[in-house]
Amino acid sequence: MQTALSITLDAFAYGMALFIICIGLSLTMGLMRVVNLAHGAFAMIGGYIASYATRNLGLGYGFGIVLAMIGTVLIALPLERLLYRRIYDRSELSQVLMTIGITFCVIGITNYIFGPTLKTITLPPELAQPIDLGFRSIAGHRIFVIVSGLVVAGGLWFLIERTGFGIHLRAAVENVGMARALGIRTEIIYAASFALAIALSAFGGVVGAEFLPIEPYYALRYMVTFLVVVSVGGAGSILGALAACLLLGAIDVTGRYLMPDFGNFFFYLAVILVVCAFPRGLMGRVKSHG
């Protein structure tokens, strides 16, 4: 019973950390139709910035998160202008190659600057201690991740479904030409959603660092995991991404607890079964090219 509870809580927190990182990828893929394999690289950059801020500059955890999000977006925006904008309407293969190339470059440069060692992010004492929930105690950090995940999910849903920006974004996705004709500045909308996705990935990289440790190969090691989560959930769907993260997180954590020597075997088996059963993902949008 105790094991079952701790597996459930761990799986839930891990799934939420995955969700915060992956939802940005799901948005760029579903709404802007870019297969951005470099998404994990941006999460990693966020983690590095936060680690540098908390450990070397001695700033607080909150500052670390904010700095990581701003810094990563500042790095990513020129890349959007110079590289991504040229592949928005190219084939999937071109997008995959270009973004793998960016990932490789980021790994090489990161290692050159920071070295191959693992970086940690200092947690504030409130989050490092276990919190008593009455029936059992749980690491404060886990609760923080879970709450952040829920806030991100709710905030995104509100942004996309209930605000003017969301309406413009959905219009640009449905029909770029018509949206432009109506006076919507689609380049700005795209750049803003790209920046939002990157900021979320940096946030996820920082809060998820306890589950996915920050090191140069982070970008490549978890690239597959992130990609899998998005395609299982169905690109562009918040609810689908949430379901996929919780499902795959649960399978992954349970597998690690109960059958550690099988590694990721069950994770990938589940992926193949789900994708075969739902080729468009659990809740994929039906693509409607204009």
Partner: protein, 334 residues
């Protein structure tokens, strides 16, 4: 456009002649490698086995338009099948290659059957999931595959009963070169056959092909089987030549590298696969030995440059240059 392609066809040498020329070039290049780098034959043999993998990937990506990041599962299946057979007393090298090709073909059948269910991104993810699944399975089934230690201690019988697979790797290299030539010749015939044209048609315009009354699934599945046989041949060659089969032969990294090599050389030409493999592996041999992280940065930069400036790969760009030089217009009407 049509006029230009007719003129092109008239001035171009006959296809058979071109094929013989291409084969002669490959053979010449191979022999030059043998004479120029007699101390690096083990590396060159590995290069040939990877070239077979990249050729097999070209069949799927270049002729069917299916992006795959899991091609190494076919290569690994061939390598492990040949290795296991060799450890269990089947030592005749040609038989081992056939076993590897058969194992690759069967794996290709399964992989194709799974991958063809989806399209686009989910398809790509399926290919990754398959190679990771096989990787974990090979790691877990250590009684069969040696787990993370890999298989070792295979001793293939001498080639034709005369030429031993010795430390210098001369017979292994020439054996590999011969295999490559045979496979390359067969693939040239296949991609120009009606079946090869049909695959190409499915890549260019699937709707139109299905309007002609053709069901795509079995055609593409057939190409997956052929591709598996080629990749399996490469794997078996690696097993025979290095006498070791490791977990890295079924890895996502090898699959991704194969795709990079293919794109570097240019997709959909077959010879692009060879050019890409030679350049990539030669560079890797030099740079990665100095610093593996610089190597990653370099590969990344090259990938970005290819997508931006040479989307048709080196061979496509060469074609363009050749076209400009002979004033036939850059685009060959593909």
């Amino acid at each position: 456009m049509a006029e230009a392609s007719i003129r092109n066809a008239a001035t171009r040498p006959a296809p058979l002649l071109r094929d013989l020329l291409a084969l002669a070039l490959v053979a010449l290049g191979g022999l030059a490698g043998y004479l120029l780098f007699p101390d690096n034959l083990a590396f060159l043999t590995r290069l040939i086995s990877v070239a077979l993998l990249v050729l097999s990937l070209d069949l799927v990506v270049g002729y069917c338009g299916i992006a795959s990041l899991g091609q190494a599962s076919l290569y690994g299946a061939g390598a492990y099948a040949a290795g296991i057979a060799c450890l269990n007393g089947v030592t005749e090298p040609f038989l081992l290659v056939l076993i590897g090709a058969a194992a690759g073909a069967v794996t290709g059948l399964l992989m194709g059957a799974v991958m063809l269910r989806a399209h686009g991104l989910p398809q790509l993810v399926l290919s990754i999931a398959i190679v990771q699944l096989l990787h974990e399975a090979a790691n877990k089934a250590s009684w069969l595959t040696g787990g993370s230690d890999g298989l070792s201690g295979m001793i293939p019988a001498p080639l034709f009963g005369v030429f031993e697979f010795d430390l210098w790797g001369r017979s292994a290299y020439l054996f590999g070169l011969g295999l490559l030539l045979v496979v390359f010749a067969i693939l040239r015939l296949i991609v120009r056959s009606p079946f090869g044209m049909l695959c190409r048609g499915l890549k260019e315009d699937p709707l139109r092909i299905s309007a002609l009354g053709i069901y795509a699934f079995p055609v593409l599945l057939k190409m997956f089987v052929i591709s598996g046989a080629v990749a399996g041949t490469g794997g078996a060659l690696a097993a025979i030549a290095t006498q070791v089969v490791g977990l890295d032969s079924v890895s996502f990294e090898l699959s991704a590298n194969a795709l990079v090599m293919l794109v570097l050389g240019g997709i959909g030409h077959l010879y692009g696969a060879l050019i890409g493999t030679v350049i990539f592996m030669a560079l890797e041999h030099v740079v990665a030995a100095a610093n593996p992280f610089h190597w990653m940065t370099l590969v990344g930069a090259v990938l970005i440059a290819i997508v931006l400036f040479a989307p048709r790969g080196l061979s496509g760009t060469l074609d363009q240059f050749a076209g400009l030089l002979t004033r036939q217009g850059g685009r060959t009407g593909r």
